[in-house]
């Protein structure tokens, strides 16, 4: 391959990176607002945490190190995966939670939009590969598995849903803090 060909490839890669970074920079501003909205909707869909559910409370221990890595790209993938998990948790067996259907719909819709936007933001294959081997990613998976099992064990009753909702709220607040710093 001659030098000219290499230069062309280099330019294309550079341009792609610049364009994608520009998109993703704007994305961050949009995401900040969307996370704010998600938190508001999460509050709106139900009432205050019921006192009687306090005794059933469990400590799930969110792996905070997942949101503290060195690279911006890795944080972005981590946030996308967290959103996917939250979206999955709130996707079924919600009858006993008796939450406001409209607020829940909007919450899920907002999450889905954020997931799509993060996916569209071009992420290098290399980063994907690196992320898939991250230890903290496994801790994240374990965390969400714990919550899923907890809900299944309690047959998705009201208390288990309220505890999970409070936990997800904590999760989103952490993400909110991180995106403001990025």
């Amino acid at each position: 391959m001659n030098a000219f060909g290499l230069i062309q490839i280099g330019l294309i890669l550079l341009c792609t990176t610049i364009i994608c970074n520009h998109q993703c920079n704007h994305l961050l501003l949009q995401q900040r607002k969307m996370i704010e909205n998600s938190l508001q909707l999460l509050d709106k869909m139900g009432k205050n945490f019921p006192q009687r559910c306090l005794r059933e409370k469990m400590s799930f221990r969110f792996p905070k190190q997942v949101l503290q890595p060195r690279q911006k790209e890795t944080v972005r993938i981590a946030i996308e995966e967290i959103f996917q998990h939250i979206f999955y948790i709130f996707s079924k067996n919600l009858t006993l939670a008796a939450w406001d259907g409209t607020a829940l719909d909007q919450f899920q819709n907002g999450l889905y939009q954020q997931i799509e936007q993060l996916e569209a933001c071009v992420i290098k294959k290399h980063t994907h590969y690196c992320w898939s081997k991250e230890v903290s990613r496994l801790k994240l998976k374990k965390y969400f598995q714990k919550i899923d099992c907890f809900l299944k064990d309690k047959q998705h009753n009201l208390c288990s849903w309220e505890i999970s909702r409070a936990e997800m709220r904590r999760c989103l607040q952490l993400i909110d803090k991180v995106t403001r710093k990025l």
Binding site: Q84, S91, N109, Y112, E116, Q145
Partner: protein, 423 residues
């Protein structure tokens, strides 16, 4: 050994349901009905649907992220329902060319009608995330309120669309009792589709400061929109003079008030503003131009003169009556305490009397025993003026003094004195 790194993703399941020449495909994720899963989040799977013709080698592949897929069979190759241009090639009843226009979060769906006979339309929407769930969403389309029986080719769909997430819209056309047709869907990303309207601008001037008041687009209902866009404003201002062509200056602000200092006097300045969102890379059209003239430098001394005159007038208004009052008081006091001692010419040298105030008590004079018989001095009523009255008082006092010990007749204040004394 990390199980998560070693494990492979198993194959999905698949079911085909032929319907009216089209195909409905239901995909089941791997580990579909298992209690304990390796791949917990089965919503995050993407599936590669591959179609091929037995007779030829051609293959068509589609990546989908949902489990219910509708495929339309076209002449050569299958097409996913939402990617097909029209619902049916020959059915003119269907609404076509669906497009959504939004201004300040008020969305209108427009479509084209190719049918000659009267058609009634019914607009439906689907909340975007439902397509991502592993459930059949075909029964989850909801009619847009107010767009149930439309005869035109547009409808206001704002009641269905909020600022969060995507929405899908489609139009069902009905003609007569039997015929109906569903149009293709259109995906709406509200904050991207929406156009921001222009803000309002008001200007005011004070000295060399230009005050600009911006009224945000969308009015009071537009608060949600403005929050989501994180709106800022770009103000353009320039000198509107025929002589010099000056470039417009720009000022950006997140507030709805702005002040521009250091303006040239006696100049016409024009202002216009636009709203923009950095996060969505969107900007509105510019507002109307508003122009205002800065006050001139010559006017300044006039202002000073006018202020001086007004102050002078005010001072005079207060000072003159005060001076008058003081003068009056002075003359009264002078009269009372320090009267003038000029006797009238005709009684000059009459006697060196002590010049004392008529109102103050005088030292007793030696009383001589004179008696006046039948002296009656009458004073004619009110025809006297005050000077006469004062003189007559003096004389009445005198007459009183000339009487005997009995001083009852000598009342200083009495208008009439009748002295009938006998010694």
């Amino acid at each position: 050994m990390v199980p998560d790194h070693e494990a492979q993703i198993g194959p999905p399941g698949m079911e085909l349901q032929p319907t009216n020449g089209d195909i409905k495909i239901k995909i089941s994720p791997p580990e579909a009905n298992q209690g304990k899963k390796m791949w917990l989040n089965d919503l995050s799977f993407k599936y590669n649907l591959v179609f091929w013709e037995n007779s030829s080698n051609s293959q068509f592949g589609y990546f989908v992220q949902r489990v219910f897929v509708s495929v339309k069979r076209w002449s050569h190759f299958p097409v996913l329902e939402e990617e097909s241009e029209t619902s049916s090639v020959n059915d003119l009843l269907c609404a076509t060319n669906l497009r959504v226009l939004g201004l300040n979060m008020e969305f209108h769906l427009h479509w084209d009608n190719q049918y000659e006979q009267p058609v009634s339309y019914n607009v439906q929407y689907l909340i975007g995330y439902l397509k991502r769930l592993n459930e059949d969403y075909s029964g989850k389309w909801v009619g847009v309120p107010g767009c149930g029986n439309v005869t035109g080719t547009r409808c206001n769909v704002s009641s269905a669309i909020t600022t969060t997430g995507f929405y899908y819209l489609r139009v069902q056309a009905r003609a007569g009792l039997n015929r109906s047709c569903l149009s293709t869907e259109v995906k709406v990303d509200p904050l991207r589709t929406n156009e921001i309207g222009p803000p309002g601008v008001k200007v005011d001037i004070s000295d060399t400061l230009l005050h600009i008041q911006i009224s945000p687009p969308g009015g009071p209902e537009g608060e949600v929109m403005r929050n989501n866009y994180v709106l800022s404003y770009r103000i353009l201002y320039w000198r509107n003079s025929s002589s010099d062509e000056e470039e417009a200056k720009v000022k950006e602000t997140k507030q709805t008030v702005a002040t521009i200092p250091n303006l040239a006097p006696q100049t016409l300045y024009c202002v216009k503003a636009q709203a923009f969102s950095e996060a969505y890379n969107k900007s509105s059209v510019y507002s109307q131009e508003e122009c205002i003239q800065t006050p001139g430098a010559k006017a300044f001394p006039l202002v000073i003169l006018a202020t001086f005159m007004a102050a002078l007038f005010a001072v005079l208004l207060v000072a003159l009556p005060l001076v008058f009052v003081l003068y009056q008081a002075y003359s009264k006091i002078k009269y009372v305490f320090f009267p003038s001692c000029q006797p009238p010419l005709n009684i000059e040298g009459f006697g060196g009397q002590l010049c004392t105030s008529p109102y103050l008590p005088t030292p007793e004079e030696p009383v001589e025993n004179y008696s006046i018989i039948d002296s009656m001095i009458t004073y004619e009523g009110n025809q006297m003026d005050c000077k006469d009255y004062k003189h007559s008082k003096q004389s009445s006092r005198d007459s009183g003094n000339y009487s005997n010990d009995d001083n009852t007749s000598g009342s200083k204040g009495s208008a009439e004195t009748l002295g009938k004394e006998t010694v």
